[in-house]
């Protein structure tokens, strides 16, 4: 079956602009996760959805970052007033239930470059 997909695969923007990153989870997966990965580092947690609601948003770095999942499937990560420090690969993952130690399956990521 199809895995997690993310669009776009690459995004180049200018400092101060607004960007949206999209994630399509595996069909039937109720939990969805966003991570950010900088060069040479492991993924860093941003936010986790169980259904339509954000179950844990403790990793969002500041109020410029926001994510939605209005119908419990596709999710969009929104970044306002982008800064050069936001440049990273943004990874999305999904899992079947979101229960403890549920396996998270990752998409290919969106590489964001802020000039």
């Amino acid at each position: 079956g199809a895995g997690v997909s993310q669009t776009p695969s690459n995004k180049v923007t200018e400092k101060g602009k607004y960007v949206e990153l999209r994630c399509d989870p595996i069909s039937g997966h109720t939990a969805l996760y966003w991570y950010r990965q900088s060069l040479g580092q492991g993924p860093e947690f941003l936010i986790y959805f169980q259904g339509t609601g954000a179950a844990d948003d403790s990793g969002l770095p500041n109020d410029r970052f926001f994510a939605v999942r209005p119908e419990g499937s596709v999710s969009t990560l929104k970044i306002q007033r982008t800064e050069r420090g936001d440049s990273a690969v943004y990874l999305c993952a999904s899992s079947l239930s979101g229960l403890l130690a549920d396996t998270q399956y990752f998409g290919p990521g969106t590489r964001l470059t802020v000039l």
């Binding site: 991570y35 947690f45 396996t103």
Partner: protein
């Protein structure tokens, strides 16, 4: 503070030269330890989940083991196609979906 530390940062092996990667964790009430493989420009690919000390899981040339304080990923007779970055992760204490990742071990296997 919850933490996952991997060593070494990089490992170069000759084809057929077996070795092990280490993952040390200090996560309160560990409830699962995950291993992923990541190729350049791609997302992490799931390999194993270990739940309790003493547990072992195998897949082809890879075997993951878990103690109370650390996990090992043993690679037996590696091939060049095993070259990748190997990541381990555990759920942050008090959270279900928030995984803490180590920085990874970059493995290079030369023919």
């Amino acid at each position: 503070e919850d933490q996952v530390t991997q060593s070494p940062e990089a490992l170069r092996l000759q084809e057929g030269e077996s070795s092990s990667l280490n993952c040390s964790y200090t996560v309160s009430g560990l409830r699962g330890l995950f291993w992923y493989r990541q190729d350049p420009g791609k997302g992490p690919e799931f390999l194993f989940t270990l739940y309790s000390a003493g547990e072992e899981k195998e897949k082809e040339r890879l075997k993951a083991t878990l103690t109370k304080k650390e996990s090992f990923l043993h690679i037996t007779a590696p091939k060049p196609e095993d070259s990748a970055t190997y990541l381990c992760a555990g759920p942050r204490g008090g959270s279900q979906g928030n995984l803490i990742f180590g920085k990874g071990t970059k493995l290079s296997v030369k023919p």
